[in-house]
Symmetry: C2
Subunit: 512 residues, 2 copies
């Protein structure tokens, strides 16, 4: 069967796993019966347990679904602590359902897969040795990749039923009142983990920082928590901040960032009260810098900035250029540490951020988003999941979700080294071209032809040539040549869900 | 059938309505499957509708359960607006499930009952013309009275299934982000209404104050809201504050308040880090004043103050005598208006406050509570529901819930006018004597004999005579004489649930 982005889907697997093919980016207005956890009532006055082993043994059973969050990113100690115990205890057939998997988690997941401890995974993404192992068929069943909004949707609808959530926090009291914004390993918003705290049958908090009762603000509440485990350390504070925290100095990236800003400021969306999501990384920070100047020059203020938040965005809040920061995660210490100081930096959960199946997510109100791409094809379909070698090395993150914005800009170089970014067909479709409006590269921009309004608005920006996406693809091919087609086996190693839970693409096992 | 507080219960009705008799104050550790709402997904960017009529017609159907909160108390305009439309539209057989009913709602509920619009009610309480009508058999089916914690429990378990919640708020944006703490009719914590927002299938916000999007802090979130209705006025700001805001000058009340404070300070619970709930009313404010002085004199600070909050409690927070105020509702403007200024005044929902069926409520950690009584009997059972004439004129509120405290003090005069407060048997058992520790009256105190530790601790307080509860009852009877027994028909007009959902007593139709 082929879906509406022309991807061949594995019929048998789809029918086994009850999948519909991806049809449209429009979620419509279905009525959805939500699910709810089983709650073990208690009136006890202290939930602190010193032994993580004991808690694991009391809560986890073979075949269960366990979850984690990735707010500690590369500084996470909690995932490895828990998984070590689980592997050593010899559990089998677990489903791993973290909000995402960071590199620091790779090796132990590979080990868990090899030992049959983990046989199913759903995640936003994976990279490195884990992506490699999965792409080579290590995992028993296909990974299911879901965007942040889709994970929220799937948890609410019961498609992901979390039996036990192991949630690391930089502070908690003896009853489980906790937040992400205070303490040595503060990471700011607990946005993704709030779903697990609300929907898991059993919630285990793991902290190195027991606070006086009652600990407030309580993003996670005692009413949701079964156990509080005290450990020596939950994370490495220096590695929580992800990626670049400085503006890029790469001339190509600066050129792209400047053009992105020109696209924004020449669009009809750039007006008082507009909203934006810029994301992380050096290029995103550069966009934020250019945008800031344009806002000052044009006396325009934003109603909100959304998404993963960085310090430069907090600076805009403090400068009064942005009214509210709607914060599902913080990418650096500056953003994380400001949350408890600035009441206009509102913590939001993944559902509020991006869930298509609720009564209105922030992304539905988003004007402008800048997103990245590993590949973008002539149908504007975007791949942020698999590399040019076909191996999994990415994450959906909020890509599909934020692409709901009124102006969705893909910011990417035409080529990376000897590899084209703009291609005839992406290796893996993650975000459908239907939701992409403009591609910005170092040579100019390409506008999705279905957006004739943008073609008109953006065709005469001084110094910004407009090409068709096909022209862009040809330019890229001229530079790097035509790559040899990738070879895959027939085996499906990963399912890529669209944010509505339908199947937009699959990843096949690579043939080496 | 009789339950464990020796109340005769109507067997047929119990079996029809699936009731267990009340057995014990210990909730135990059951595992409870929670329920969840049906959510109508939308991506629309504005939920504002001008016509409340239209929203009612789009959402309400005969036989449904509709809910309201009572945070506007006697200043509420929303309840009457909505019920007027509902009555005029000729709906039938609705169940009314507000967090409580205030006097300003009485007449229209009586009208709705008379017209068959409302045939079932569950509430914390009722008074005045409505209590009178129900006590005289006006309502088709028995009212179910539930404490605040029990209402939360019943909503979570599906015993109360709210089809449409009509929630008045002093501010909201076009998507439904709202809080109780800003605006002309701010009432502070949205504690009770948060249950409705989370569990109702349809949530209708009604506001007179549309704010810029996104409106934060968002106690109620856009993800929960279906409609936002703009009206001229949601309430009368001057009538939101309930009852006394000044210390009593009544010598008897002052005497009782002073004795209450002595009981607290002579107990083992009065130590650094203790917690308390004092409630509202002039006598409660006096207790807070005495307690403040004792805390200063003894250099003792409280970890938290709980419950319905008054300005004098906020003063303790600001003075540093209390670390946190855990706030499910605010009784006066001073408490309401400080919430958005003081980050240690934490808004909590009714479940977190008092629900026995979750993973730990604030009341489970509460050291000292002062509660009132219309009657208390020689088994220490307390009635806060029916008057000496047998007519319903009260509310459970958090009475049963907060009585979970380690030291539960009933503060009440021995007699009120010609009516005894301490009686052989209360007219209606609301809170079982098992959870009451000390009765404080103007003549002295009575200690529940099951608390021998308190008998020892409190028997030698200078100027505070200790009596048995039987002696107290005899003293009261000596003053006012033996009242004529009340006469009731066989018809049950109200069921009094204990906080675990079991039946602790019923109210019968009065015979005039």
């Amino acid at each position: 069967m082929k879906n509406s982005v022309n991807r061949e889907l594995p019929d048998a697997l789809m029918s086994n796993l009850n999948y519909e093919p991806f049809k449209t980016t429009d979620f419509g207005n279905p009525e959805i019966q939500r699910v709810a956890p089983k709650v073990h009532a208690t009136a006890k006055e202290n939930k602190v347990i010193d032994s993580l082993e004991d808690v694991v043994k009391q809560t986890v059973k073979d075949g269960m679904t366990i979850s984690f969050h990735h707010h500690f990113r590369e500084g996470d100690y909690v995932f490895n602590k828990v998984m070590r115990i689980i592997i050593d205890a010899g559990y089998q057939n677990l489903t791993l359902a973290p909000s995402s998997l960071t590199n620091v988690m790779n090796d132990i997941v590979v080990e868990a897969i090899e030992k049959g401890v983990v046989t199913n995974i759903t995640s936003s993404g994976m990279r490195g040795s884990l992506g490699d192992a999965v792409s080579h068929g290590a995992l028993k069943n296909p990974v299911i990749f879901r965007s942040h909004g889709n994970r929220a949707r799937a948890i609410e609808s019961g498609e992901i039923k979390i039996d036990v959530a192991f949630l690391g926090v930089p502070n908690a009291d003896e009853m489980g009142n906790a937040n992400g914004m205070d303490g040595e390993t503060a990471f700011g918003s607990l946005g993704y983990a709030l779903m697990d705290a609300q929907y898991a049958d059993k919630v285990v908090l793991i902290t190195d920082n027991l606070k006086e009762y009652p600990n407030t603000p309580a993003s996670i509440k005692q009413t949701q928590v079964d156990y509080v485990v005290k450990v020596d350390a939950v994370g490495n504070a220096d590695k929580i901040g992800s990626g670049a925290t400085r503006f890029t100095k790469d001339p190509k990236e600066l050129k792209i960032a400047k053009t992105v800003n020109q696209v924004i400021t020449h669009s009809k969306y750039f007006k008082d009260g507009f909203s934006f999501q810029t994301g992380s990384g050096g290029a995103a920070l550069a966009v934020t810098r250019f945008l800031r100047q344009s806002m000052i020059d044009n006396q325009i203020k934003a109603s909100f900035a959304l998404g993963g938040i960085t310090k430069p965005t907090i600076d805009l809040l403090e400068e009064g250029l942005v009214d509210r920061v709607m914060d599902v995660q913080d990418f650096d210490k500056g953003a994380a540490s400001s949350m408890h100081l600035n009441k206009n930096q509102q913590e939001i959960d993944a559902s509020w951020y991006a869930d298509p199946a609720n009564k209105g997510a922030m992304v539905d109100k988003l004007d402008v988003v800048i997103l990245s791409a590993l590949e973008i094809d002539t149908k504007f379909n975007v791949n942020v999941m698999s590399g040019s070698d076909g191996v999994i090395r990415g994450a959906i993150g909020g890509h599909q979700d934020a692409a709901k914005a009124k102006l969705t800009i893909i910011s990417a170089p035409l080529v990376r080294g000897r590899i084209a970014t703009v291609v005839p067909d992406v290796t893996t479709v993650v975000t459908p071209g239907d939701s992409i409006d403009v591609l910005v590269t170092e040579v100019g921009i390409a506008i999705n032809p279905k957006r004739q309004d943008l073609v008109e608005a953006l065709s005469n920006i001084p110094g910004v040539p407009v090409y068709t996406i096909e022209q862009m693809q040809e330019m890229a091919e001229k530079i790097v040549g035509k790559p040899k087609p990738l070879e895959f086996t027939d085996r499906t190693v990963a399912m890529i869900e669209y944010r509505d839970g339908s199947l937009i693409d699959v990843v096949k096992e690579v043939k080496d």
